[in-house]
């Protein structure tokens, strides 16, 4: 198959300005005052510093990134927050210019970077379909032709003439995805849209993307923290870390490598400065660790012993209904279970005063089958607000040390490996 995207030595540099209380945009006042200051310096024969007289620091969001994408490929781009995934997509979809290198693309690129971009809340579903189509580069005739299909896919027939501000968030996402998915670009760029929407629709979207790519030979670039979605949809993976490519290959290789990466494989993850730590002004996460049955921090766990997952965090402002918890996923991205620390009866419904906390969850022996698992941690105000959500902070390996009664030395299939109670009785003497 022919190459449809070729990226060579791509780099994107941002200048970070260090000045206390700096606004994200430049105020004319600053330009003028800095200009005057520089002029003053020049007159005094002390020309130094940068153009604006403030300290600037270069930051390479992407550096020397080169790869090729073949037609019909579905590539999953994975990496931590700030690894340069979104910057890469922004360059590919021409929202921002690269600083170095070049990209060559065959065909039209459509990006589905965020749900409902270009939707106007006051306009009806019908009007928004046309508007959004136009923004994504569709022609009116093209939209008209596919209008019914879009409405059908989004399942919003009844609400077509309702302003979208009255839509539920699920309907909103469905409509947004439907428009973009029917765009028929040669290359579809998707960034984290599936984070919202119900599971059923997520499946439908993945199915649609798979369909679009397999049947019509279109190329999909998919960015997600959801390893299940990446694993399911993509054929190839691209792992970015600190602006460079860390690994590139088949999706299962890359995802496995990503999950067993140094940081996550240590059995403990510590956020030393509160700036970068997950959280907000109410709570910040400090440490996540996995301990084996002997309370040793470890990533190698024995199936036949219990182990525990610990979250250490700081609560800055007291909140009722606050809870922390975690999700356990398999390498394939299948959710095994969710645990929340509001299960501790001592704290159930009790307001937690500010302070340093440790939530510890003991996971019993004979629960997880052998294999690699990843931990995603989160905190929320129960039933209302998510405080932080951090994907894949850690991973650990569950091992089968001895032969099991069930399958001997072999791994039994399945995600869980419970030790179940069986009772076998002979209830009759004769053959029936």
């Amino acid at each position: 198959m022919s190459t449809i995207i070729s990226v060579e030595n791509l780099g994107k540099k941002y200048l970070l300005r260090h000045q206390a209380g700096q606004q994200p945009y430049v105020a004319l006042r600053d330009v003028l005052s800095d200009g005057m200051r520089n002029l003053g310096r020049k007159l005094l024969g002390r020309s130094n510093l940068t153009a604006y007289g403030t300290e600037q620091e270069e930051f390479w969001a992407l550096r020397d990134v080169s790869f090729e994408v073949k037609q019909g490929d579905r590539i999953g781009i994975i990496g931590r927050n700030g690894a340069g995934k979104s910057t890469l997509l922004k360059i590919l979809s021409r929202i921002t210019e690269p600083t170095t290198g070049r990209v060559r693309i065959k065909g039209r690129v459509a990006s589905l970077l965020e749900v409902g971009t270009g939707f106007h809340p006051e306009l009806t579903g019908r009007e928004n379909i046309y508007l959004n189509g136009a923004i994504l580069g569709m022609h009116r005739t093209e939209i008209k032709k596919r209008f019914d299909e879009i409405v059908d896919f989004a399942e919003i027939e009844k609400f077509l003439d309702t302003p979208v501000k009255r839509y539920s968030s699920g309907m909103y996402v469905r409509l947004a995805f439907a428009v973009a998915a029917h765009l028929e670009p040669e290359i579809l760029v998707v960034d984290e849209v599936l984070a919202v929407g119900d599971v059923q629709f997520q499946k439908k979207c993945l199915g649609k993307m798979e369909d679009v790519s397999a049947r019509e030979g279109r190329t999909v670039l998919f960015v997600s923290h959801n390893m299940a979605a990446v694993g399911q949809l993509c054929v190839r993976g691209l792992w970015l870390e600190r602006g460079t490519i860390k690994s590139h290959g088949t999706v299962s290789e890359v995802v496995d490598e990503y999950l067993s990466d140094g940081d996550t494989a240590a059995g403990v993850r510590i956020w030393s400065d509160s700036e970068s730590a997950p959280g907000n002004e109410r709570i910040s996460l400090l440490v996540v660790r996995v301990r084996d049955h002997l309370d040793k921090v470890s990533t190698q766990l024995d199936m036949e012993h219990s182990f525990s997952v610990e979250l250490e965090y700081q609560i800055h402002a007291p909140y009722a209904q606050l809870r922390t918890g975690f999700w356990i996923y398999t390498v394939e991205g299948i959710l095994v279970f969710v645990a929340g620390d509001n299960e501790d009866p001592a704290w159930r419904g009790v307001k937690r005063p500010a302070g340093h906390y440790l939530s510890r969850c003991r996971i019993p022996a004979m629960l997880l089958n052998s294999g690699r698992y990843s931990v995603t941690v989160a905190a929320d105000i129960q039933g209302s607000e998510l405080l932080f959500l951090q994907h894949n902070v850690l991973s650990f390996q569950v091992k089968q040390t001895g032969p099991t009664v069930l399958d001997g030395a072999q791994r039994s299939p399945g995600i869980v490996r419970p030790s179940l109670e069986w009772r076998v009785e002979r209830v009759g003497e004769k053959e029936r």
């Binding site: 070729s6 941002y14 945009y25 430049v26 105020a27 004319l28 006042r29 330009v31 922004k90 360059i91 590919l92 979809s93 021409r94 929202i95 921002t96 210019e97 690269p98 600083t99 170095t100 290198g101 070049r102 990209v103 060559r104 693309i105 065959k106 065909g107 039209r108 690129v109 990006s111 970077l113 965020e114 971009t117 270009g118 106007h120 006051e122 306009l123 009007e127 046309y130 508007l131 136009a134 923004i135 994504l136 580069g137 022609h139 009116r140």
Partner: protein
């Protein structure tokens, strides 16, 4: 690099220009969709809706007629004062609205700028289109005024589109400057309303440019709207308002300069919009 030819699109630092005008053509429908959206949205949840675009110039016209015509007793060269004011109010309102809408257009659409690619010039352009719709609606009032005062324009009316083009170029040119500047320096959020308010008095809207002393007349045409307004009056009201042609030429040259400069500046700033806005 021969194999470049196989590719439809090459993204390189500073490479945007080659496809730019072609892209604008491809996205021509987006102009109208954005304008259509703004018009649809603007008067939703307002009680009298589109009537606002008529009411504003109409009320200003009444105030100006009373203040300048009745109280200050300025000359109107035999034309009913309201008609004289309104003939100038049309291009001025168009210009002022375009300026206001354009300057905020990029920031209002920042969610689009940071998420989707399209030639950014589409955004201020569609703002001018929206103001043009207002302009066309408020033309109805002028027709009404002319009927009321039994005033019949002559053949010069046929030249009006040319003057309208000039107003359009001035609006778009200034709009490009202000929209790009506003992204970079939010100060312009405060500058623009002031500029518009100020401009209403230093442009000959409430009075005729003929009352400006002769020795200052040429200088007065440095305000490009003076040329536009004089042109409108000449085309609509006939011989009572002769155009000062050298002055008009100066205004026209400035309008062209404003537009070209605006396009150039906008193009230069455009590539950073997504990073800055």
């Amino acid at each position: 690099m021969n194999d470049d030819l196989q590719y439809d699109l090459i993204i390189e630092p500073g490479r945007g220009i080659r496809h730019y005008w072609h892209d604008i053509w491809c996205y021509r429908e987006l102009f109208f969709f954005l304008a259509w959206r703004d018009i649809l949205v603007r008067y939703k949840q307002t009680a009298i809706g589109i009537a606002w675009s008529v009411l504003r110039p109409f009320l200003t016209m009444i105030v100006f007629t009373i203040v300048f015509g009745k109280l200050a007793k300025l000359p109107s060269n035999g034309v009913p004062y309201p008609i004289m004011v309104y003939a100038a109010m049309l291009p001025w309102q168009f210009f002022a609205n375009s300026l206001t809408e354009c300057s905020n257009s990029l920031i209002d659409n920042s969610n689009l700028l940071t998420k989707v690619y399209f030639p950014r010039m589409v955004v201020p352009f569609s703002s001018v289109i929206v103001s043009m719709v207002d302009f066309l609606i408020s033309c109805v009032i002028l027709v009404g005024l002319m009927v009321w005062y039994r005033f019949i324009p002559d053949m010069r009316l046929l030249v009006l589109p040319a003057f309208f083009m000039m107003a359009f170029m001035a609006s778009f040119g200034a709009g490009l400057w202000l929209s790009a500047l506003n992204v970079q320096y939010r100060d312009f959020r405060y500058v623009v309303p002031f500029l518009v308010q100020f401009g209403l008095y230093i442009s000959p809207v409430g009075f005729s440019s003929a009352i400006v002393p002769e020795e200052w007349r040429q200088l007065y045409f440095l305000n490009p709207m003076v040329g536009v307004i004089d042109g409108f009056r000449w085309a609509l009201l006939g011989g009572a308002f002769p155009v000062n042609w050298p002055g008009f030429a100066l205004s026209s040259a400035l309008v062209v300069l404003l537009l070209l400069g605006g396009v150039f500046y906008f193009r230069r700033m455009e590539r950073n919009f997504a990073d800055v806005v």
